[in-house]
């Protein structure tokens, strides 16, 4: 049965309103209402008066609401909303023969949806016909708005598949480029595995080692809507640490929010040298016979090869704590103390993802898995390792819940090709290789034991992401962006990626459309309705409607929609959940009841706390429950990786000097730059909201500078500084603080790119996009992940005429 939204409102709308209004006439009812919605940073009850959002507050299911939730109104009615479909002036005139160096500089012309869709149809068809199946890049990547239906990247592929348009895809993520590739070789699965519960850690763990892990900060966001359940557990750990002796140690160049929260001991390591530190510790354990030989023998392979490396059998370098001290800037005695601490009790190594976004990022996780194996506590209560505690509240309690499916990329099979793959092209690239691909068509690179040949891309379609923030080395990327004949960008906002495109399609945000999503990716604490509370801003449309209309141009609307409208899909997803719930003996309300209330909560699996212990089954019986590695065990030495014969990624974890770090810094660029996840944004999302006032310095993205370095450079707190690397320059606002290590500066990723010609400096970003400075190079031939954290820079007080930041207002429109 076709679901009509209107009918639905008729049936449920009145009940959804507050009791005192019952009985009043409909026009009155429309004037004020409360609607449940969700984003990646919160679940909200949104107050709407006369069709306008006046306020929002978090749902009670949220254990620790984030300040970001407060930005809902500011984000919806934002100066930077793309209100209508637009086309770059030169492109509208000359189409694919336009001057592509004008991207980002020319004015935009408002067009009708009909015209925009027709041009998109013509261009997709032309490019496919003239250049073949490897000519369109739809590796579109990003976090977009939350929702199981309005996932623009899946919908983009669904549209292309449905319409018989082939495309080149991307592989992996910017966040986890290296760990995602190395982990399956070593532990047989990816980093998303469920982690040992934080309850067990609170109860049993003696030593929590935070390694580049700022979970108190980064768990504010969630791939679904957040439940923030991990925060209850952090509190439990903090309480436990007051009652019994617990060593909480943070290894990080920064004194993080997490470190402060737990009152941790800080080891402010030289950035990018963590592998050397852990090798030094491993060397000490090995030589002092402190490693767990029984565990290594039963549960791992390849310790012999690694221990030969530790003592320098071949390279004649004995990698002692003294050796590690020289590289890491940590005292030898402190390294030895750390090693002794680790073996003194139950130790949990909690490594974040930041480290693997550095040169040879594969090694950071491999060495931590290896060290955990040497300690021999994996699979025991509260011991071992976890590499995603900082993501989406991992380690929080799992609730007894059904799953919630979402829209899929559709079936290429419907065209009679027999393939269920999401693309016909086999030229998918590691995601961070996009600039290299565009600049070097036909070039071959090595990747994960295979060769990838770069396609010659003529058209890019990006939806719900901001590549002009994600990708490293912005100036190189801007050059790369001049290569394709057509660039289409679909987004609610005038991000740099919208500004650098030819055709810009305005998408809605969550509160302007119907959708549904789970609460808590890792906890699965509930399901929340994302209800359309207001009409779409100006002429924006939901991603679903945009792609449906393009499919219509191809005569494939029915195949795209499968006969369902948006609410029809939402109901379908929920009713699939009901079926799963029945199988698990969970009672779910009917869709109508759920939609009226706006959310459903589940119960914790156990009221006694979560006792999940990662790898417990493997440790109990490694033959019955083998890991997914070739040997079924933890591979300290991987024959498979060794067989690739990569000199930048051998068969065992090893220390490699990064391309740029303090150990090889120059007089010209004497500071190391790190660019962690921001506190009040989801990457670049929300940078355009009122929250900017909370953290910016004179309207610029902040740069953390150590007081001694600031003094040397004559920079004071609140100054605007010019930060430069070999690759470009940006302006940033100085925060002088000893939260950052000496010789190291910190600028969070995600500041919007605002390029301007500045006298004496050329084209620079005047707002503070850190990826203007970073290096575009792969971690190694194995993973080809990005290495944003491997960057050396210099900074100085900016003394010229301060250029205005204009990226938060609309571009020039004809």
């Amino acid at each position: 049965m076709k679901n009509s939204r209107r009918n639905f409102i008729k049936a449920t709308g009145i009940l959804g309103l507050s009791a005192p209004l019952l009985g009043a006439n409909m026009s009155l009812l429309e004037k004020s209402k409360k609607v449940v919605s969700a984003t990646h940073w919160g679940t909200s009850v949104v107050t709407i008066k006369n069709g306008i959002i006046t306020d929002s507050k978090p749902l009670d299911v949220d254990a620790k609401p984030s300040l970001m939730e407060k930005a809902l109104k500011s984000r919806t009615y934002n100066q930077t909303r793309v209100e209508y479909p637009y086309i770059r002036e030169g492109f509208l005139k000359n189409r694919h023969n336009s001057d592509r160096t004008k991207r980002g500089k020319e004015k935009f012309v408002r067009v009708s949806w009909e015209e925009a869709n027709q041009i998109i149809y013509e261009e997709l068809t032309r490019v496919q016909k003239n250049y073949g199946e490897d000519s369109i890049y739809a590796g579109s990547y990003g976090w977009f708005g939350v929702g199981k239906l309005n996932n623009p990247q899946t919908l983009l592929k669904r549209m292309l598949n449905t319409c018989g348009v082939s495309f080149v895809d991307s592989k992996g993520t910017y966040s986890t480029g290296a760990v995602n590739v190395i982990a399956p070789y070593v532990i047989g699965t990816n980093h998303h595995h469920r982690h040992t519960s934080l309850d067990l850690i609170a109860k049993h763990t003696d030593n929590i080692i935070l390694i580049g892990n700022d979970m108190v900060n980064t768990c504010a966001i969630d791939w679904n809507a957040p439940a923030h359940k991990a925060y209850e557990k952090y509190e439990k750990i903090r309480e436990a640490s007051k009652k019994r002796k617990m060593n909480i140690i943070s290894i990080d160049p920064q004194i993080t929010d997490t470190s402060k929260y737990f009152d941790a001991k800080n080891i402010q390591i030289v950035p990018n040298t963590d592998v050397a530190l852990f090798i030094g510790i491993a060397n000490y354990l090995y030589k002092n016979n402190l490693h767990n030989k029984k565990f290594l023998k039963r549960y791992t392979v390849g310790f012999k090869e690694f221990s030969d490396y530790l003592i320098g059998k071949d390279d004649k370098i004995d990698k002692t704590p003294k050796w590690a001290s020289k590289i890491t800037g940590i005292k030898e005695s402190e390294i030895i103390d750390l090693a002794k601490t680790m073996v003194s009790g139950k130790t949990m190594l909690m490594i974040g993802w930041a480290l693997q976004r550095g040169d040879h990022g594969e090694q950071t996780h491999w060495i931590v898995y290896t060290l955990a194996a040497m300690l021999g506590q994996i699979g025991t209560n509260g011991g071992g390792f976890g590499s995603s505690y900082q993501y989406s509240n991992n380690g929080a309690t799992l609730y007894n819940s059904p799953g919630l499916p979402g829209i899929t990329a559709g079936k290429a099979k419907s065209l009679g090709t027999g393939s269920y793959n999401t693309s016909f092209s086999n030229k998918a690239i590691p995601v961070a290789k996009v600039s290299d691909m565009l600049l070097n068509p036909g070039k071959k690179i090595e990747f994960n034991g295979e060769e990838v040949e770069f396609a010659d891309i003529k058209l890019i379609y990006w939806a719900g992401g901001n590549p002009m923030h994600q990708q490293q080395d912005r100036n190189k990327m801007v050059k790369a962006w001049e290569k394709p004949e057509v660039i289409i960008n679909q987004d609610p906002f005038w991000t740099a990626s919208s500004r650098m495109a030819d055709i810009i399609l305005p998408a809605t945000t969550e509160i302007e459309r119907d959708d549904i999503v789970a609460i808590g990716s890792k906890s699965a604490a509930g399901i929340v309705a994302i209800k359309k509370g207001i009409e779409p801003v100006a002429e924006s449309k939901s991603d679903y409607d945009i792609f449906r209309d393009i499919s219509k141009k191809f005569g494939r609307e029915k195949e795209f929609t499968e006969g369902k409208d948006q609410l029809g899909w939402v109901k379908h997803f929920y009713e699939t959940s009901i079926k799963q719930a029945k199988a698990k003996n969970i009672k779910l309300p009917s869709f109508e009841e759920f939609w009226e209330k706006g959310y459903v909560e589940f119960k914790e699996i156990s009221s006694q706390g979560d006792t999940y212990n990662y790898m417990e089954d493997f440790v109990e019986d490694p033959l019955e429950n083998p890991l997914g590695t070739p040997s079924g065990r933890i591979e300290i030495f991987s024959r498979k990786i060794a067989s690739y014969k990569y000199d930048d990624c051998l068969g065992h974890p090893a220390w490699y000097e990064p391309a740029e770090y303090l150990g090889n810094s120059t007089k010209e660029y004497p500071f190391h730059l790190v660019s962690p996840h921001p506190k009040f944004r989801l990457h670049s999302q929300l940078n355009n909201t009122i929250l900017r006032n909370v953290y910016e310095v004179k309207g610029r993205e902040p740069i953390y500078i150590h007081p001694k370095d600031a003094k040397k450079k004559g920079v004071k707190d609140g100054d605007i500084v010019l930060v430069s690397s070999k690759r470009g320059k940006i302006l940033a606002g100085a925060i002088v603080t000893d939260d950052i290590r000496e010789q190291t500066v910190l600028i969070c990723e995600g500041g919007w790119y605002d390029p301007k010609e500045v006298e004496g400096h050329g084209n620079i970003c005047v707002h503070g996009d850190v990826n203007v400075l970073t290096l575009d190079k792969g971690t190694s031939r194995l993973a080809q992940g990005n290495i944003a954290h491997t960057t050396i820079v210099n900074f100085e007080k900016f003394t010229g005429k301060v250029p205005p930041v204009t990226v938060f207002s609309k571009p020039e429109i004809v």
Binding site: G449, A583, G628
Partner: protein, 187 residues
């Protein structure tokens, strides 16, 4: 002409007498004396002659109760009751690169419900292929050969909550992916 027919027969005969069939749902295995001896898993290829069946695979020395696809691809073909391990015929023994001994085995058996066999392998995985598409609602779906047959079950185990698979579905998708991965390049 006659010679040609004989040659042709030589090719055709084995396919008549030993038809390849695939298990479409888990089926109970019976010994030739009709005792229950184990469980044959979905996806397993068997050879049949009339109502008798043969299964070939590999078992791990000391843990012979699970028959795997090979020593390198741990796809479970069947689980054999400890008392009937003796019914296996061992063809060869070899040690893998990690020092684990593997035995190549054959086993003859009958089936409780032979209706659960199909001739066309492609008929097996329709539902699983649909289920796998669910992964694409959060992230790009992976090409099958991006993980090995050994890795896929661990990957699905990791991700099953996000995809909302029931325990049964998650097992079915894992096996489907293991077989699809075999068709790709073994890593």
């Amino acid at each position: 002409m006659r010679k040609r027919i004989i040659v042709l027969m030589l090719f055709i005969l084995p396919t008549i007498f030993f038809a390849k069939e695939y298990v479409s749902e888990n089926i109970e295995m019976l010994s030739l004396k009709n005792e229950s001896i184990g469980l044959l898993y979905k996806g397993t290829e068997v050879k049949s002659t009339e109502n008798k069946y043969t299964l070939s695979g590999w078992v791990m020395d000391g843990n012979e109760y699970i028959i795997f696809y090979s020593d390198k691809a741990r796809i479970k073909l069947a689980r054999i009751d400890e008392n009937f391990i003796k019914n296996m015929k061992v063809y060869k023994i070899q040690e893998d690169e990690y020092g684990v001994k593997w035995k190549k085995v054959d086993m003859n058996f009958k089936l409780k419900s032979p209706k659960s066999l199909v001739n066309n392998e492609n008929e097996l995985w329709k539902n699983e292929a649909e289920l796998y598409q669910r992964c694409g609602s959060c992230h790009k779906t992976f090409d099958f050969h991006e993980y090995t047959p050994n890795q896929w079950p661990s990957i699905i185990k990791t991700m099953k909550n996000n995809a909302g698979y029931s325990k049964k579905e998650s097992k079915e998708v894992s096996v489907y992916l293991q077989y699809q991965s075999l068709k790709g390049k073994l890593k």
